[in-house]
Amino acid sequence: MSTPREQIVQTRNGVVKTRVLVGGDGPPVVHLHGLEGLQWGELHKGLATDHTVYAVEHVGSGESSGIEELYDFWDLVGHYEEAFDELGLERTALVGHSFGGMVAAEIAAQLRRRVTDLVLLAPLGLWDDRYPVAEIDAVARADRPAALLADPSRPLPGLLAPDPTDHEALFHADLNSASINQFSWPIAEKGLRRRLYRITAPTLLLWGAEDRIVDPVYAELFRERLTAPTTVSVVSGIGHLLHLEDPATVLGYVRDHLAS
């Protein structure tokens, strides 16, 4: 099925409202987006052929509100635990990209019995001085395709390249970046390295070889700290927005991991 239904999940006694797109049928997979914002793209459609896919919007982005009530990762992980309850997800596979990958790893490290499988697509969350993670907001609009994509001629999602004359689009892009800054500023390393060992779910680490935001070397830095069964794949010809740039390849890896 290709058209998801929209659900608003309430947490923190209804103060935090989160938009979730739900589609497909089968074992559950939760997807947490990165800076591109909530989408129902090729990856979601592909997974939905034999999974129930829950694409969850990050609080403070798009139509999801109440971010001022979430102070830190403790609050954010607690929010997801409640959201899983609301969605009726006792156990679920978890896929996260970029910032969403960092959140997915934190959830998997804390809610260990609820995450069956973990897929981290070019996640944030670690820092090595030799390979500084790029600050996407600091990349000028004209330079963003080259920074985010292996093939800069492809179109960028609207939240990453808002039309400068469209004030509504600029405002939403600002809110979306702010919602990610809230948990990742100024360096997206909030102690995850000390918690990665806690993750028990089998983990796939997938990177675009031409990722100019989070260097693929981080795949190894993650692997070194993970104690759960871990697979690392670095795919050539794609950049940081890997599942947008080559959804078929990414889908193949993710499906294989979830099936194994």
Binding site: I67, Y71, P164, H167, D174, N176, S177, Q182
Partner: protein, 412 residues
């Protein structure tokens, strides 16, 4: 009217191709490549001398402020400068620290303590400025999460004002400041506390905070009174809507002022330095100025949808031509008569009673700055000082320890 000489203390020796070669004057200009500490030492001393001169030629106050990691204003600690000024200015001069960037200090008790020290050292002459701070300073230089800028500011404000007004010791259990014992030694001389001034450039929250707490609101930008007018009139309108009484001394604004014997001479003397200022010292990319999350959702929506941010960014780029800068009020420049006329007009239109004059700009050399300060103090201030006299307004936001100035013949 009250006149304060407000200094930025910039670095004067950026290369001619700075704007083309470097991304920003703030946060990232490489220090070892561009900043010579020996030169900075010379400038600091010249700048303090210039501020002391203002005291001697009839100003009501001297002003300093806080910025970090930049060539635009090199006072990472304005309190150090204010401390030197408290010792070397007369009892008739206010020491205006405009101010300490509250969100940066944890515990924010540090600000309560240092301002109290300054108030004691100056014997009650401190104006305590509580700026939110630029995004460059708060988020990029000091690493504060953008969305925490306002909550930290609000909590620091609460802690500092309570530390000044409430008997110590008491416990303070905040989100960011957790203190079992708050008990600053000393507290300020001024009771209940030093006058608080807020600098702003259009944040709705700052208007409301100034009015709610009975603080001065000062338009603090370099876009002159034509741009400032919209914001100051919004401020006065908010005041009226809140049912509060108008008083020009609750408002201020910052303005670049360049005085010479004639209008033509002003242009000849100052134009290169204005150019240096706008081309180099205002060279900051938008992603540093308007970091997502730095503004509240409400202010971000207002700034983005009204196009304010884009207009401000655009203005700093187009502010190059002397005649249009004078015409648009970005600068007030000319003979003492011209300057006095413009200040009278601007202050009347903005309805403000505190004038923060920026008299050193860009790479202005010491001698020229001293000339500007002297002409302003001796030939401009006396012409405008009485603007709000005889209308029944009392200045309730001036430091209580400042003594009435003995006006000499030169000041008449």
């Amino acid at each position: 009217m009250k006149f304060i000489f407000f200094h930025l203390m910039p670095y004067q020796d950026l290369p001619a191709d700075f704007g083309a070669r470097y991304d920003s004057v703030w946060v990232t200009p490489p220090n070892d490549v561009l900043c010579d500490p020996r030169k900075v030492g010379i400038y600091y001393n010249q700048y303090l001398d210039q501020l002391e001169l203002a005291d001697q030629v009839g100003f009501d106050g001297v002003g300093v402020n806080e910025h970090h990691q930049n060539a635009y204003g090199m006072m990472s600690s304005p309190n150090l400068m204010a401390s030197a000024l408290a010792r070397r200015t007369s009892k008739s001069t206010a020491v205006c620290v405009m101010g300490n960037t509250l969100a940066l200090y944890q515990p924010a008790l540090r600000v309560a303590e240092e301002f109290a020290m300054l108030d004691c050292l100056s014997e009650g002459r401190l104006i305590a400025g509580f700026p939110v701070g630029t995004s460059m300073d708060v988020n990029h230089c000091y690493g504060i999460t953008p969305g925490e800028t306002r909550p930290r500011y609000a909590e620091a404000h609460d802690l500092i004002t309570r530390a000044w007004t409430q008997p110590g010791p008491f416990a303070y259990n905040g989100r960011f400041n957790k203190l079992r014992y708050v008990n600053p030694w000393p507290k300020p001389i001024q009771k209940p506390m030093p006058p608080v001034w807020l600098g702003g450039n259009g944040s709705l929250e700052t208007y409301e905070m100034a009015l709610k707490n009975d603080y001065v609101y000062s338009w603090t930008s370099f876009f002159g009174f034509q741009t400032g007018k919209k914001f100051m009139l919004d401020f006065w309108e908010t005041q009226e809507q809140m049912g509060l009484e108008f008083n020009p001394y609750q408002g201020g604004y910052c303005q670049i002022v360049l005085v010479a014997d004639t209008d033509a001479e002003a242009r000849r003397l100052y134009e290169p330095h204005i150019k240096y200022f706008f081309e180099n010292l205002q060279h900051v990319p938008l992603h540093f100025r308007a970091t997502p999350g730095y503004r509240t959702r409400r202010s971000a929506e207002f700034a983005i949808k009204s196009g304010t941010m884009a207009a401000v960014a655009n203005q700093s780029k187009t502010a190059r031509d002397w005649d249009s800068m004078v015409e648009n009020g970005l600068i007030i420049a000319g003979s003492p008569d011209t300057v006095a006329d413009r200040i009278r007009t601007a202050s009347s239109e903005l309805r403000i009673g505190n004038f923060l004059a920026i008299l050193h700009i860009g790479n202005m050399p010491d001698e020229l700055t001293r000339q500007n300060v002297t002409l302003f103090g001796e030939k401009v201030i006396p012409k405008v000082r009485g603007l709000w006299d005889g209308q029944g307004y009392e200045h309730k936001w001036w430091p209580s320890g400042v003594e009435a100035r003995q006006t000499s013949g030169a000041n008449q």
